[in-house]
Symmetry: C2
Subunit: 334 residues, 2 copies
């Protein structure tokens, strides 16, 4: 058996590889009774004293490395910060592992480092450790790990949706993946789609500070909203009903996705969060989110149910099952 693009694309093929080859070989996947690798949540935790250290990692191989709305530097910071933020943690510090191709322009590296610095300032995190290697890669690769902190027992899981919970998406979906796709050679659309890549921690903090109890949270990156909702539903042992008309999406993204035959529900986002909150908290949560620039298009897109498993979407022509995508339709999106 050989590795294919699908093994790195989010979705079912990657999940199977992780379970069969990675998890099955590792005997120790958690520390001090914290959330471990086997939970396959956005991050894991290490209880220390009255806190939990939250720990995550992302490898970034996005192509092209500079794209409308961002670059691999900003993506590295935001991808890692967001994995900590959706655990309810305060992100503190990042590590950066740079893998550079021989012949890489040092001016490009300088530009990427400046972008990393700006994103760190937005997210209020520091890069405290790093490593640099030169290898046979077609472009720069950045792996970033992140450390955050949360009060003991307060980490928010992706697996704890409760029956009846409202499901909220913080804004328009599909922008990141399509911005990447259209910036590649060969696409001649007259479109102005920018990646949504942004750190979500400040917005999520606002919601938590207002006392909204977030039952479950996840950022819909590779595999898009379809993958995130399915994972949350499956882990929570519930189903989710969503309503197509309520899903926030720009006209431009919708029409280009239609032309390309791509389901925008499966397209990666890098500045969006999916939250499950008590139905009676939903409107207030929405209000708080909409006060933040990154949440201005937030919507309640559906509800959790015990009636069925999986994700079912009501459309104008009837209901359809939204499956876990086999992989992200756009390779090297993050």
């Amino acid at each position: 058996m050989k590795i294919t693009r699908m093994h790195g694309a989010g979705g079912k093929v990657m999940q199977d590889l992780i379970k069969e080859i990675i998890l099955s070989n590792l005997e120790r996947t958690s520390v001090n009774g914290g959330i471990g690798l086997e939970c396959l949540d956005d991050a894991s935790t290490i209880p220390i004293g009255d806190k939990e250290i939250v720990f995550t990692v992302d490898g970034h191989t996005v192509k092209p490395i500079f794209f409308p709305g961002g670059d691999i530097g900003r993506l590295s910071v935001c991808g890692t910060v967001n994995d900590l933020a959706v655990m309810g943690a305060k992100p503190l510090a990042l590590s950066l592992s740079l893998i550079l191709p021989e012949g890489f322009d040092i001016e490009k590296l300088d530009k990427i480092m400046k972008s990393i610095n700006e994103a760190c300032k937005e997210a209020d995190v520091a890069v405290i450790t790093g490593d640099t290697k030169v290898s046979n890669v077609d472009d720069i690769i950045i792996s970033s790990s992140g450390i955050g902190v949360v009060d003991k027992g307060k980490a928010i899981r992706d697996s704890s949706i409760k029956e009846g919970d409202a499901i909220i998406v913080s804004g328009n979906i599909g922008d990141h993946g399509l911005a990447i796709l259209l910036s590649r050679e060969g696409f001649e659309f007259d479109a102005d789609i920018k990646s949504d890549v942004a750190p979500l921690n400040k917005m999520i903090e606002m919601v938590l500070n207002e006392g909204i109890e977030i039952h479950a949270m996840k950022d819909p990156t590779r595999g898009g909203l379809a993958d995130a909702l399915n994972e949350m539903a499956e882990k929570s042992g519930l189903g989710i009903d969503i309503y197509e008309e309520r899903i926030p999406i720009s006209e431009e993204v919708q029409s280009i996705a239609d032309i390309l035959g791509i389901d925008p529900l499966t397209v990666a986002n890098e500045g969006k969060v999916v939250m499950a909150v008590k139905r009676e908290d939903a409107e207030r949560c929405l209000e708080i989110l909409r006060k933040h620039p990154l949440g201005k298009n937030a919507e309640i897109i559906g509800y959790a149910t015990k009636e069925h498993k999986g994700v079912v979407m009501e459309t104008i022509v009837g209901k359809r099952v939204v499956d876990t995508p086999i992989g992200d339709p756009i390779p090297r999106v993050c």
Copy 2:
């Protein structure tokens, strides 16, 4: 300006890149007054309560990925564990970012994961978070971050050698780099050199548990012993005198290095530590180290001095300055 192999090779060229392009662009490089990126130590720290979280990262691009004595999996675990251990920390958890080429044999990945598991058991650490990407790389790349913990204020620096300190090396130098080099195509030596790749945390713990006060510590990886000693001396504002005849090195490594014209002092190690301890503690420290299988060839190789800066080695034909290497003589060694 373009990136060359030397920018990833340890040594002066890499240090300049890090200072001029990476550090100079980042405004926040430490958290809560902990040890930050700007210290360029083996790891950084985040003070939390009465502890410090110790954080490090290494990207691994070693070629070949399977080599005598180890593989990229074992190397990833040990490289990261050792960066934590030389800070005096207890390593707890690792993150793994796997970058896989398309077409990579899943059996090879399986073998690497088994090796990671074995090394984790040896070091008593867990892999608690991970990420998998598929990209245009010539072979698997693994970036691993690590979290450890140390009592507040007890982290051991690479910059705090004191005048008169004995400098100890825990065993034979040069094995890792030469094992890698000889396992590449084109070398037809009839030699049996194995990488020394191993987790050092248990051995270092033994020394600390016996009450030896380690003033400064570092693992001599890329750039070898020459790089580690120069960095420690420069940061400590002292000089180091070493004695060639006391430097532990196998006859095989010495003779092959001679034939190839490589200075073994500049060759990477992956299972060795350099310690600076009070002169009166040195013999006892040596005894403790030698009780551990990884420390059986430990030696006191010299002493710190105020008489000069830099590293000076006494040889049978007189003294010579041991400079910071420009880069590691063997590319893609870790």
